[in-house]
Symmetry: D2
Subunit: 306 residues, 4 copies
């Protein structure tokens, strides 16, 4: 079996105008910059693509723009994130109709469930939508960890095409990689942890989904290519650079969670001239003042900003 | 200040047909039975009303049926439950347009946030929709506890009209009741814990939102009236009855979470002839076999079933 | 079966001198004050008795002082709190040798375990020490909730004599009371939640273990007697008083956890002249300055301090 | 600054006889086998060394045996694990008196605390005991994560000599390594995650503390030496071997937590002829039957057992 996708697949940040409309111009700039850097796919409407903050109309707008702008140059993955099965299926069908290449789906959330509900959730979505289906393992948002053996089983049966692992559980990820290999490699296994992609590559990951790849797509592409060439010193060196750059999410004060994380990414993108604004979706507010300056300092220290 | 609502406000279970369509006939039977029992309000599309499982079209269907069937006899509260602000506002506006009397909203979920995002969330929703706004404190679903002082402050400012407390934190609830009283009683404080409503009444609650009130509305109405009359022995006796009845959610085996909880409620409603089916929303499956029989035994032991 | 103990059993706060030695004089004053108030038992070396902070020598000192000072007037319960079985058994044997009337033991903690380890833990301790054994259900400290059916089973078999419930899970507590009753009432079921004892009495609790009973033992004794007489209005009134008094743990700033909770209790005891110092065990520091003044204000507002 | 220790420092499993006495003969065999394999230090009475299960007498027995058997060939680190400061200080002084080279201490646990208590805890222990002090970051046991900036600050001040990181938070670990480097490398940073040591080495770790190193010390020593030589392919290959071997903790059924984890390690050690028994400390029971056979299969598959 050949995995659906390999390499660097950044989760695309969604730029907003000052009045919180979708900023298509900044969006295009970002997409072009990442494709030119050599990414292997683009994942829209992920957690960092503010899917949870976006109305259905906004989601449609982003999907349409993504398909149009990417224009087949790399695969377009669409996050179909919602609480439970029927709501997800609606998003999946809209993504399919709009021309997406694959969809990305979390475990059900809000209501309490068990493993049988998670398994049935993925099976029902696969039945309802023929696109390649990625399981998005993100316990920090949905409060459950997807078990590796279930993922591999669903891969073997053709229900799942891959996994975006944002679990932070590197031990489970290594076991998942090994089990996937033993099963004939049905799943494309991508790590979402931009600060320790090198460790995931040591474990045998098929690629990465680094949110920080919006800020600096080049280092992740160079890292991937080094990994393909067995050049571990470069893998490590690029990771150290990315880790230094990731400090943009910790140098701020008075903010937490999404405001600190994606807030920093958007602020960096604005400082780099890719985004026109660092505006955030309601109820979050944009970083400002000293926090912006602290991020600029990190960008300068890492050579991204003169 | 007079609280918006006082008394028993059951969260209405949403009946489904075998093929998972909205079962309007069973829905009407349930609404009529609860109004005849003397409830003081009805809360549709709460967590137990399977809001998280319902598409927007299904939500519209339930809201329209609720407003039509209740026909002004008691206030209609509508759960506008979604991940973040803009998505909630859309639900709120649809509920308002359909004729709801009040809306019920949780803290934002999925994305990580802090207190300032929670506060801003409720303020923005209040600005966007003039209906009385209830905060729904349900950390088991949204993984954050709403702080009492913030709730009272938003009550004093007229942003919030009340709180549905499903936090399970009875200590905080007692402090909330006292703080609300000291502030002039701006909030209607309703407990969602059907097994310990007596304790909440001891704390001074303005009412209850018992999911189990779908199965037996009469005991909760009798309990409320006894509380109004200072007849604590009856308050306690009715609670003991309700607690015995609540065993329907623990006598099953092989199921957890929503499947066990709402699954048991629906099964009891079917056994009582109120619902035609105990069907559950995807990805959950209905209880069957021995689990149904175990629930029937509890209903017989508590005198609800002959 | 007659339960081992019923009524008010405060967990006794351990007073320290300024240089963190055991303050026997203050200790005696506190014990005498509570016995004179009419408590039904005293629980030494509980969580609020700083058992986790006390060396074995300090524990021995407290147990010896407790047995000597109480002198058989009420039962002496001793907390034998340690990580795993063998360590607990050592504490249990020392308590027994020193003349304790009962021991109180949590689930094992630190190492990860399951239900079978918890069950075996209590069985082994009971085999090693013939004193009546209370299970101390305190998930906030040991990160596991003791399941009611296991507790009742161990009660029926004579392994457990009672439960101190500090779980904050009032729903489970009500089920536990009912199951215990159905099994012939083998367990003495005491609630540790001083702010909602009225609710626990509504559920049928056999008594309370209120840390706040160190600060005001009289209200809890009056409440217990009212409960025995079916005078629910007094139960509620005394609870409202205790809840107002409990604000001593929330009016401080800059402190959390033990420093805020037991720190406030000790400070109140000093302000009331029962303790000579509000010193705390290492690594905690005593409250001071504005925090002391804020507590004094609560004491004045509730009539305890002139 | 030169870090106190670098390389492979296995946390030594404590063998028991069938009747749960300390098995000195098996202990010696294990120590000799690891020293011969070339480990750089040995850590006794860690979590996997069953410190939480061991009475003070047992701890003394293990420390004495450790110092005697190691006889200065490698540094002896002793886990001084207990709930709060004064209890830890007693263990620390006993370890010092017995000839330990360094002590390892967790954050305080059981009672609730905050950052200021954690900081004060380490400072007070350092004041009371002059041995090099390692912070043991193990949130799964003590339910708090030690913050990197605090650790580095305590390193710069000479309070801490190193960190054993068992947090599972590889992102924080990478930031910790970088901050430690920027501060002049005061801390010896050792990872406790035996399945992803390669990732920790990519991050720049000073060494590893692999529990699985009891079962196969050679692979971790080879891996460390490869890392020192920049031979990343060997680092990765040895890690893949260790990950396959680590399946001994997941192939069992009907057991969880310590029983599954250390139970599997002890069973493997018995199968390899290093331990005479796989007995576990109360309240845990030893693996048996099919579980033993499942572990033997893993040992055969990985070439450790013929």
């Amino acid at each position: 079996m050949a995995p659906f996708i390999r390499g660097v697949v950044p989760p695309v940040i969604t730029p907003l105008t000052e009045d919180r409309q979708f900023d298509r111009v900044s969006f295009n700039r970002n997409v072009e910059r990442m494709i030119e850097a050599g990414v292997d796919g683009l994942f829209f409407l992920g957690s960092s693509g503010e899917v949870a903050f976006s109305t259905d109309a906004r989601r449609d707008e982003v999907v349409a723009a993504a398909v149009e702008q990417v224009a087949g140059r790399v695969p377009v993955l669409i996050g179909c994130i919602d609480t439970e099965t029927e709501r997800v299926i609606e998003h999946a069908r809209r993504a399919e109709a709009a021309g997406a290449d694959a969809i990305v789906v979390t475990a059900p959330f809000y209501a309490l469930g068990g493993l049988q509900e998670i398994e049935r959730h993925f099976r029902l979505i696969h039945e309802a939508c023929p696109l390649p289906l990625f399981a998005y393992d993100i316990p920090v948002c949905v409060h459950v960890k997807l078990p590796g053996p279930l993922l591999v089983q669903l891969g073997v049966e053709g229900v799942l095409a891959g996994v975006k692992d944002s679990s932070g559980d590197d031990v489970s990820f290594r076991f998942l990689v090994a089990d996937n290999e033993a099963a004939g490699h049905p799943l494309s296994l991508l790590t979402g942890h931009e600060v320790v992609v090198d460790g995931a590559y040591m474990s045998g990951a098929d690629g990465s989904v680094p949110g920080l790849g919006n800020v600096d797509p080049h280092c992740y592409v160079r890292q991937w290519r080094a990994y393909q060439n067995g050049d571990w010193e470069t893998v490590r060196k690029e990771q150290d650079h990315a880790a230094r750059l990731m400090r943009i999410v910790t140098v701020t004060s008075g903010v937490t969670g999404y405001a600190a994380g994606i807030g920093a990414f958007k602020t960096a993108m604005q400082l780099l001239g890719v985004f026109d604004s660092n505006q955030m979706p309601n109820p979050v507010t944009a970083l400002e003042g000293d926090n912006v300056e602290a991020i600029a300092t990190v960008l300068r220290d890492t050579g991204l900003l003169k």
